[in-house]
């Protein structure tokens, strides 16, 4: 029952919140309530169910990594639902927002609990298309453009995805997602199938080179929607990868190296490009791409073999958990500086600081030790160049700190209200702050196997003591923060753009669009030529009819029609037929 409620409640919320008077008043509470079954499933293990009537026979169940991500997703939707309830109180399109918000929520929960291909794909599509409504919400030209690019990329992703699923189901001989990794490991075209999935889900994850819609679409949505887009929905692609990747079953050096190097390119490149931006939300979107790059690295290591899926996948999920909660905190935080005044601002800055530290991997945060997990894997893997990658990982902590301190700097430029005020949506924000990433260390989330693996013979307490007194994790952050402060402080060095971004958001999409424009022009010319050609024929399908209608053949056609009317046509048919038969027999 709880499995169905997980999907059904958000769907009901999508109807109740916008279309009933009570719903309109209490939309925050309604969305919060709708997430409760998902949060419950994230905390408590429940045995799976089969719905024989649903789509192509659905199964719902969870494994550890997906349970971790479901809990993350539940927390994010709950808090951002509450946040949206008061943040969008006076928005004229809030009802539409509620509809798409609820539908996307249902899709996001549904895809996480689906254990079989058809329902997974269904909910994935539901989430993708419903969040289109969130991206386009503001209806500004920027939002429309972002939504268009989002949609085109989403459809391209869906096409790759469905192909991958066709092939995967065929080679697994089963619709169950759990059977796919093993089948891909066996199948001769397993790598090809995985590559298709890599591209299909890569669009959602924002992997290089498919990420360019993301810095446009995520900031275009209202703050609470950006929070779930960048915190929760982006992880759906990651979950998709985890479903396909035969971690620990294969040795695919080329694909592994591809993922690891693309991951590091995102991790470093996106963070650096993000520095050129002036909109805090675009900044965060680039940070999301960069962080998803790190998760791509972990999965990529898994494809090299040697590390069992039971250790690696929960680690990816925990990293996602930490990043998701912190990123949602920051995204919702972008709405705060203009509304929070007086002593409340201390709380606000403290919260934002914690969020930034969590993403960068600062002390006492989930970020530090999830990054530590990655370092452990990098230390153990036989992947060539592992030492270089360790260095790159440390470097990425520097760039992330730079990017996010730049984000804080941009927020500090927003004019604060003079009186001592706090908006109602500060409450869900604080809730999220409290529910944040340190859960990653709690036994509720951390599987015992992984715990044993990292603590080895030392006790857990000794492990954490070691971890948090390990200064090697802290210097990159200090360096990043120092660099930012230094360049801001000295006027001669301070070249940070303030009004216009140094480079346009969405980077190379503009190259695509420019070349697309010229291609379109050529294409349109071709089309108009073709059309005039077709018009000269009056449409190819009318040829037959045209001959019958032409002046010159009018006579013949008239007599032919007369023939038809007299039913003698059939007689001629007979005649022709018998002639043919005579010829054959």
């Amino acid at each position: 029952m709880i499995w169905f409620l997980t999907i059904l409640l958000p769907l009901m919320a999508a109807i109740i919140a916008p279309f009933t008077p009570v719903g309109r008043r209490l939309s925050g509470i309604i969305f919060f309530t709708a997430t409760l079954p998902a949060i419950w499933l994230g905390l408590v293990e429940v045995s799976g169910v089969t719905a024989q009537w649903f789509i192509l026979e659905s199964h719902f169940s969870l494994d550890t990594p997906r349970r971790i991500i479901l809990l993350l997703t539940g927390i994010l939707w709950a808090t951002s639902g509450l946040f949206a309830g008061s943040y969008l109180k006076d928005d004229k399109r809030r009802n539409e927002f509620s509809f798409y918000f609820g539908a996307a929520m249902a899709g996001n929960f549904g895809l996480l609990i689906s254990a079989e291909v058809a329902s997974f794909y269904t909910f994935f599509a539901l989430m993708t298309f419903a969040s289109y409504g969130l991206v386009i919400h503001n209806r500004t030209p920027f939002a429309r453009q972002a939504a268009k690019i989002y949609l085109v990329m989403a459809i391209i992703g869906e096409l790759f995805l469905i192909t991958a699923l066709y092939l995967a189901v065929q080679s697994a001989g089963s619709m169950l997602l759990a059977d796919i990794p093993a089948a891909l490991a066996q199948a001769p075209n397993g790598r090809f199938i995985f590559l298709l999935g890599l591209i299909g889900f890569g669009v959602k994850v924002g992997a290089i080179p498919l990420y360019f819609w993301l810095p446009l679409a995520h900031p275009a949505a209202p703050a609470p929607a950006s929070a779930v887009l960048s915190g929760a929905m982006i992880k759906a692609g990651l979950v998709g990868w985890m479903h396909l990747a035969p971690v620990g079953l294969v040795e695919w050096p080329s694909l592994s190296l591809l993922m690891v190097s693309l991951g590091f390119m995102s991790a470093l490149g996106a963070a650096i490009y993000g520095l050129t931006q002036v909109d805090p939300k675009t900044n965060l979107a680039y940070s999301s791409i960069s962080q998803m790059g790190v998760m791509t690295v972990i999965l990529g290591i898994g494809l090299y073999g040697g590390i069992p899926a039971g250790l690696l996948l929960p680690a990816v999920a925990l990293y996602a958990f930490n990043h998701g909660t912190a990123k949602a905190l920051l995204f919702m935080g972008t709405a705060l500086p203009a509304k929070v005044g007086g002593s409340w601002r201390i709380l606000m800055w403290a919260g934002l600081g914690i969020g930034v530290l969590a993403i960068a991997g600062g002390p006492l945060t989930g970020g530090l030790w999830t990054k530590y997990l990655l370092k452990t894997f990098l230390g153990e893997t036989t992947l060539p160049g592992a030492q270089t990658f360790l260095l790159l990982l440390t470097l990425s902590a520097v760039t992330t700190t730079l990017l996010l301190s730049r984000f804080l700097h941009l927020l500090s430029k927003i004019k604060a209200p003079s009186e001592n005020v706090a908006p109602a949506f500060l409450i869900p924000w604080i809730l999220l702050l409290l529910a944040g990433g340190w859960w990653t260390m709690s036994p509720i989330l951390l599987p015992a196997e992984l715990m044993n693996y990292i603590t080895k013979e030392k006790g857990i307490m000794a492990f954490f003591w070691n971890l948090f007194t390990n200064w090697s994790a802290i210097w990159p952050i200090t360096l990043g923060a120092f660099l930012m402060a230094f360049t801001l402080k000295f006027a001669t060095l301070n070249r940070w753009p303030t009004k216009e971004p140094l480079l346009p958001p969405g980077d190379f999409v503009h190259i695509i669009l420019l070349s697309g424009d010229s291609v379109t022009k050529v294409f349109q010319k071709g089309i108009s030529l073709l059309q005039s050609f077709m018009q000269s024929l009056n449409g190819p399908e009318k040829i037959f009819y045209n001959i019958s209608d032409d002046k010159r053949t009018q006579q013949i056609s008239n007599s032919a029609e007369a023939l038809l009317r007299r039913w003698e046509f059939v007689g001629i048919g007979f005649f022709v037929f018998f002639l043919t038969m005579f010829f054959f027999l």
Partner: protein, 498 residues
């Protein structure tokens, strides 16, 4: 057994009699006419349900009537026929309701409803016919009974379209006739399902039977709108919306598609058709039509014309599914008979509603229409997502089976065709959806019809909502017993049983 054998005939009579009686009525006798129409439609649905239950219990329903020495008029209930008959009956009922609302106050309604009933008689006749000859009789009957519907408006354009329609369909009928007679001469009377007859003869007359196959296929391909024989379909969309809806969803085009299914599965048999390489030819034409229809649809601004080209494209899914041998593709083809029907009828109802309520006929006029007609456009959106192949709408189920089946048989190129078609479907349907929901209405207009608090008349609104929900339900509950998919799967599995 003797008493039940009249049932197939009763199914036909349930629409034949109202049709003829309506012709005898006067134009003003609206109430009586409506009563006749609806009671016929309801009776037909009831009878089919009755037969269906009986069939599931193992009852055999056959009706014979000897026309001449060797020529038998035969009606027989089998699973495939019943499947198609059920589709016709249900959609006829819905469309009748819609037509009553749509034509309210129009002229020549007597003629319209009479031929409307006859048209459905013909398509159920096609569904239930037991042999090739009976099939041909109803196939031609369908041509003649739809002509008055196409030209119903009586405008020059409509008459012109009607003439094109006749040229194509009579031409196709004649070709089909050649094929039917040829088959009779070579193989004797063939009842559907007796594939062993051809299987035995194929080694004796390989050339002749091959030529006959393509003659028959050509005759059927006209109605199934396979390129290059599809020209009548976009032209005849000048007909009133309920006619287009029925024409595009069940009656005419499906008669062709259903005929192709029968030809391959129940006359020649898949084994022969595959062995003789007929299917490859069919597959190439079907695949080309899928892409061609979508490309043409992309450039239409006329709402109904875009839908018409989309029909051309979507119908060939059925032919494509037939052309790739395998249980999964066959399932996809058979289930798409129904899925395409319910989705496309929803779209035509929606287009009709918009045109009747606001007078908008072009897509460029649809800005913000979703806000004014949320239910109509909601149903349209569901159907459009289905056509693109997005779950959980019915179209996804068809595409899933077709694609998976293609992969299974190693016909990877089919997957590319499906993907290209999905992308093109998205490219020509999503702009409509986008305009309807995400554009602000440009200017205020008065409605052409007053409808109180509803967005349009109840009789126009209910059918579109019902078929929209059906399209959704056929996908969401596809795995449940009694769903179109489960029946199609059963039919397909029987086809491949040794």
């Amino acid at each position: 057994m003797e008493t039940t054998s009249v049932l197939p005939l009763l199914i036909l009579v349930s629409s034949l009699i109202p049709g003829t009686l309506i012709l005898l009525l006067r134009e003003e006798q609206v109430a009586l006419r409506t009563f006749l129409n609806l009671s016929g439609a309801v009776a037909k649905v009831g009878l089919i349900a009755w037969v269906f239950v009986g069939y599931l219990r193992g009852q055999e329903y056959t009706f014979f009537f000897r026309l001449a020495l060797d020529l038998t008029f035969s009606l027989r209930v089998d699973q495939l026929g019943l499947f198609f008959a059920a589709l016709s009956a249900v959609l006829w009922l819905v469309t009748t309701l819609y037509a009553i609302g749509y034509l309210e106050g129009g002229k020549h309604r007597r003629r319209f409803f009479a031929f409307f009933s006859l048209c459905v008689t013909a398509s159920t006749g096609i569904a239930l016919s037991g042999n090739v000859l009976t099939f041909f009789i109803f196939y031609e009957f369908l041509t003649l009974s739809t002509y008055p519907l196409v030209v119903h408006r009586g405008t020059d354009k409509a008459v012109e379209a009607g003439r094109t329609y006749l040229w194509y369909t009579i031409g196709g009928g004649t070709v089909l006739f050649l094929g039917v007679v040829g088959l009779f001469v070579l193989a004797g009377p063939i009842y559907f399902g007796q594939t062993e007859i051809i299987a035995d003869l194929i080694s004796v007359y390989p050339t002749q039977l091959s030529i006959l196959f393509f003659i028959l296929l050509t005759g059927l391909a006209v109605k199934a709108a396979i390129f290059p024989l599809h020209g009548w379909l976009p032209v005849s969309m000048v007909a009133p919306a309920p006619v287009s809806a029925l024409l595009h969803a069940v009656a005419v085009v499906k008669a062709g598609a259903f005929g192709i299914v029968r030809l391959v599965y129940d006359v020649y048999g898949i084994g022969v058709a595959e062995h003789m390489n007929y299917l490859n030819v069919l597959a190439v034409f079907a695949a080309f039509t899928i892409i061609y229809g979508s490309l043409r649809a992309l450039f239409q601004d006329d709402f109904k014309k875009r839908l018409a080209y989309s029909t051309v494209s979507q119908l060939s899914y059925i032919a494509l599914g037939v052309a790739i041998p395998g249980v999964l593709t066959s399932t996809g083809a058979i289930v798409h008979l129904v899925h395409q029907g319910i989705m496309k009828i929803t779209m035509f109802f929606a287009a009709g509603n918009v045109a009747e309520t606001y007078g908008y006929k072009n897509i460029s006029q649809l800005n913000g229409i979703g806000r004014r007609m949320p239910f109509t456009m909601g149903a349209f959106t569901i159907a459009a997502f289905g056509m693109i192949g997005l779950p959980p709408v019915a179209g996804f189920i068809s595409k899933w089976y077709l694609g998976l089946g293609a992969v299974e048989t190693g016909s990877y190129w089919v997957v590319f065709v499906l993907l290209a078609s999905s992308a093109l479907n998205a490219a020509y349907f999503l702009p409509i959806v986008y305009r309807a929901w995400f554009y602000e209405p440009e200017y205020e207009v008065s409605r052409l019809r007053s409808s109180g608090r509803l967005e349009t008349q109840a009789l126009l609104l209910i059918p579109v909502v019902v078929t929209g929900l059906l399209s959704l339900a056929a996908g969401v509950f596809a795995a449940a017993g009694g769903s179109p998919l489960s029946i199609a799967r059963e039919i397909a599995e029987k086809l491949y049983m040794p």
